[in-house]
């Protein structure tokens, strides 16, 4: 179907890719043997706990740790004073740039606390109960300040400032203006005024979305051992061992050579396990005590003090002609960055109208400090809020034009050559193919009966990332291959990588043993994030396999005593061009390695440019209870372009998992802050994520439009499925009960409020 490009090989008869082998780490994970961060045990282990701020915004006047230090069993107490003050500079630590002083102050607060739960001190003791008891003995004097909890209030001219010296950066320039607005940027394409002048239909709406958490089931944890020789070892649950290494080296002013990060199995991340929280504190406590120190957060700490993803205020205006052509879009995005500067409005702006070819677009983005934890990535960060706004407004335009929502999207779909408002021109993408798959899916034409039911659709885009990856692979003499790579495995990537190696070498997935190495065991590898592992680390593994292949061709030539150029490797066999009787399988040739020069190791490192953007579409049927406002999902279908699904079961799993998270975001999940800035729902009872009872089976359709920038056409698949659900649900709710929702979550209370605003309280009873 697709033609070969510079990178895409155009293979049509895959042997391993596209099959569904059992994952290599599966047995360990179904028997409880897999070692996660909290399972780490070692001799002499001390246990650490963190003292956290009871205030959302306060100046710290003094900290007295003497009584805590005097408690029997307490071995050390750490405060910000124990972390060296770094230069006031911005460093790229493999997760986007961060100011080192802000990073330090977020680990242990210095002069100010900026959110409820902000870490202030760490205690190490002989058991966790003593450490906990010691926290109550630390005396902190505060000057309590007014918290800023809403982006628009925080943006006001006279708003109290979180960071008194912060000045707004606009378009990359320092404005010199002190404000809670950390950054502002603008993207412009075409002539907005002319675009709206040509429109027959214009819809403009405002949206507010709540702060939500990634909700991984495994809390953050870290165990650190700082040896007297100055070498620090850290065991932790992280999406990126190398970014933890680099953050630790910068914060503790160590050479990266003296920091070894051993990533344990990781119990979910979704963007929330990139930034260090406990690791530096455990390291300092280990240095002070000479013992290894283990720290594990409880769920309240996870919700109070690790990165949620931003709530937002979005205003969007979209215009179309009566023929159904989108001609102009204007968006204003204000995203919470939490207590310290961050930038999730930036990716939001890259996605908000990006499924479409619109000639005239202006997008303004603002990242705003509020007294909440510093916001972090969450699966296509920024894009879900943005799509909720754009995709519901597009639904409203379709309604006014009396056009089918999929047909309208197809008519306006971005395609190869379309320029996004933020600059890039699309290579081959699969949005049109996804829309067509949605149109022809039986779900879209199935009858939907009964009162208060409705069907909605929405598209979502996420650009995906490339970044650095490394892999080495050693050929064993029995023809199996040991693969070592640096991407922590959160969803089966050991297997999706092993399969790509096996495909090149003509062996089975089971003949490859993949291992995730620590930072001393493999070349630099960026985070498991940005939907990049199967794509980018897959690229590195492909290169390692090609390296093995070319070395093995040399060895086969030696074995047959003929020139290298006479040997070819095809269909898993080494052959000679001249003599068809000479043929060795990969396994047979592996048996000849020791006789032809010794072991063969392949290596691959990449920072691949050919990232393939991903599109997903959701079709969802709902029933809304008009008395309670509760939404029941009757049927859900996800359609997504995977480029090439290496292991289709795990691609489906990403689509279903992303959909479930998007449904939770759409219907239930939000942070409730009291007016004085206390997080009121810091448990999994009150921060309610979807259960098995809330969801139906989630049907999946994998579309495969190969990414021209990968040998096997792979696109990232992890993130984009979270993008369409809130908008698709809102569109379905509108058809069910006639209200256009402009707030997330669309909880029973918010839906009733909207219904009552339209029809009057209790109107549905009639």
């Amino acid at each position: 179907m697709a033609t070969k490009t510079e990178d895409y090989l155009g293979i049509t008869d895959y042997k391993v890719i596209g099959t569904r082998p059992i994952r290599h780490d599966g047995v360990d994970k179904v028997t409880g043997r897999a070692v996660y961060g909290a399972d780490v045990q070692m001799a002499g282990l001390l246990h650490g706990r963190i003292l956290r701020s009871p205030h959302a915004h306060a100046r710290i006047k003094s900290i007295d740790t003497s009584k805590a230090e005097a408690l029997a069993g307490v071995k050390a107490v750490a405060t910000a004073a124990d972390i060296p003050m770094p230069e006031d500079k911005v460093e790229d630590l493999g997760e986007g740039a961060a100011n080192l002083r802000h990073l330090r102050a977020n680990v242990l607060a210095d002069d100010k606390v900026l959110y409820h739960g902000h870490a202030i001190a760490g205690v190490a003791a002989t058991n966790p109960n003593i450490a906990e008891a010691a926290l109550a003995l630390i005396k902190v004097e505060y000057e309590v300040l007014k918290p800023m909890l809403d982006v628009r209030e925080a943006m006001a001219e006279d708003a109290p400032l979180l960071l008194e010296n912060l000045t707004t950066q606009s378009g990359g320039e320092d404005t010199g203006k002190k404000s809670n607005i950390a950054t502002h940027f603008q993207h412009k394409l075409g002539d907005l005024e002319a675009g709206f002048a040509a429109a027959d239909v214009i819809v403009e709406r405002e949206f507010n979305t709540g702060t939500v958490h990634q909700g991984y089931i495994e809390p953050q944890n870290a165990t650190a051992l700082w040896n007297p020789d100055g070498r620090l070892t850290v065991w932790c649950s992280t999406q990126g061992s190398f970014t933890v290494r680099d953050q630790m080296a910068q914060l503790l002013q160590l050479s990266v050579l003296n920091v070894r990060v051993i990533p344990t199995e990781i119990g979910g991340g979704f963007g929330g396990k990139i930034r260090v929280y406990l690791e530096p504190v455990a390291a300092i406590l280990s240095k002070k005590t000479g013992h290894p120190v283990k720290m594990v957060m409880n769920r309240t700490e996870v919700l109070q003090a690790t990165g949620p993803t931003p709530g937002s205020y979005i205003k969007i205006k979209i215009g179309a002609t009566k023929q159904g052509k989108l001609v102009a879009a204007e968006a204003y995005l204000a995203y919470e960055s939490g207590g310290y500067p961050g930038g999730w409005a930036d990716p939001a702006a890259m996605c908000i109208v990006s499924p479409y070819d619109i000639e005239n677009v202006t997008i303004d983005g603002y990242n705003v400090l509020v007294n909440k934890p510093q916001t972090m990535a969450y699966r296509a960060p920024g894009a879900t809020n943005a799509a909720f706004a754009s995709e519901t407004v597009i639904d409203e335009i379709c309604e006014q034009l009396k056009m089918d929502p999929l047909e309208f999207r197809l008519k306006n779909s971005a395609k190869e050559g379309t320029r996004r408002a933020d600059g890039p021109v699309y290579p081959r993408i699969g949005h049109e193919e996804c829309l067509k798959a949605a149109q022809s899916h039986p779900h879209y034409s199935a009858p939907l009966e009964g009162p208060n039911t409705g069907r909605g659709v929405a598209s979502g885009f996420w650009f995906n990332v490339g970044l650095k990856s490394s892999a080495t692979a050693s050929v064993n003499t029995d023809g199996t291959v040991t693969l070592v790579e640096g991407s922590t495995d959160i969803g089966g990537t050991r297997t999706s990588l092993a399969m790509q190696l096996a495909e090149v070498l003509g062996i089975s997935a089971e003949d490859v043993k993949p291992t995730v190495a620590d930072t001393d065991g493999v070349g630099e590898t960026d985070v498991t994030g940005g939907s990049r592992v199967t794509f980018a680390t897959g690229w590195a593994v492909y290169k390692a396999a090609e390296d093995i292949k070319s070395q093995m061709i040399d060895r086969a030539a030696k074995h047959w005593e003929i020139p290298e150029k006479e040997v070819v490797f095809e269909d898993g066999n080494f052959r000679t061009k001249s003599d068809s009787s000479k043929s060795l399988t990969f396994k047979e040739m592996a048996g000849n390695l020791n006789a032809t020069g010794g072991p063969v190791i392949g290596r691959g490192t990449v920072d691949p440019p050919g990232v393939g953007g991903a599109f997903a579409i959701m079709i969802v049927d709902v029933e809304v209870d008009p008395d309670t406002g509760k939404v029941q999902i009757l049927r859900a279908t996800m359609i997504q372009d995977a480029g090439k699904a290496v292991h289709p079961s795990y691609v489906e799993g990403q689509m279903q998992g992303g959909a479930a998270q998007g449904i939770g975001w759409g219907l239930n999940e939000e942070y409730f802050y009291t007016k004085d800035g206390h997080l009121a729902n810091s448990s999994l009872l009150d921060y309610r994520m979807p259960t098995s009872l809330d969801l139906p089976m989630i049907d999946t359709v994998i579309v495969e439009v190969p990414n021209p920038g990968h040998p096997f056409g792979v696109r990232g698949v992890g993130e984009v499925p979270i993008v369409p659900p809130p908008a698709a649900l809102a569109n379905a709710i509108y058809r069910a009960v006639g209200v256009r929702m402009d707030v997330l979550p669309m909880s029973p209370g918010n839906i009733l409020k909207a219904m009552w605003a339209k029809d009057g309280p209790g109107a549905s009873k009639d």
Binding site: K29, V30, D39, R299, I490, S649, G653, Q654, L684
Partner: protein, 158 residues
């Protein structure tokens, strides 16, 4: 502080004795005293089900049971599900259906599903969804977990 209490119990068909403080949860004891770290801690207040064990035939959150309450009881943890002959059918079907991603909730789901199948060998999809509603998974959307259990239960139709 009270002294430690002696507890005699049976875990995974083995007689086990341990000492624990009155405040220690069964989860603390399993993980910290006995090294049975397959039982996971996700919330410590009974909302996520990652710590599910079978206590005298009932699926319970071991974070909501005190260690001392295990006295004279029988407990099954994830470590006791497979046999020397191989994986339990639930473990095998979880692998075949790709019913796990990060794997942290997996022990709790397998133990909870075993408790269900021990009582009701052939539960419907609705029954499975109700039974497993006390176990949170953030990765899978539950689809493949429910299908894996239905497959073992013989109620999965193609």
């Amino acid at each position: 502080m009270a002294g430690k209490i002696h507890v005699q119990t049976k875990i995974n068909d083995e007689d086990v004795e341990f000492l624990c403080e009155p405040r220690d949860t069964l989860l603390d004891v399993l993980r910290d005293n006995l090294g049975l770290t397959g039982t996971k801690e996700g919330c410590s207040n009974g909302n996520c089900g990652a710590c599910t064990v079978i206590l005298d035939g009932r699926a319970v959150d071991s974070c909501l049971v005190l260690g001392v309450e295990a006295d004279a009881q029988e407990i099954t943890t994830i470590e006791g599900i497979a046999t020397p002959d191989g994986l339990h059918p639930l473990q095998q079907k979880f692998l075949e259906h790709a019913a796990l991603q990060c794997g942290i909730c997996t022990p709790g789901f397998i133990v909870a599903a075993k408790a269900l199948l021990d009582r009701e060998p052939n539960p419907s999809e609705d029954r499975i969804r109700l039974w497993l509603a006390g176990n949170l998974c953030r990765c899978t959307g539950y689809d493949k977990i429910v299908k894996a259990v239905m497959d073992v239960a013989g109620t999965l139709k193609e």
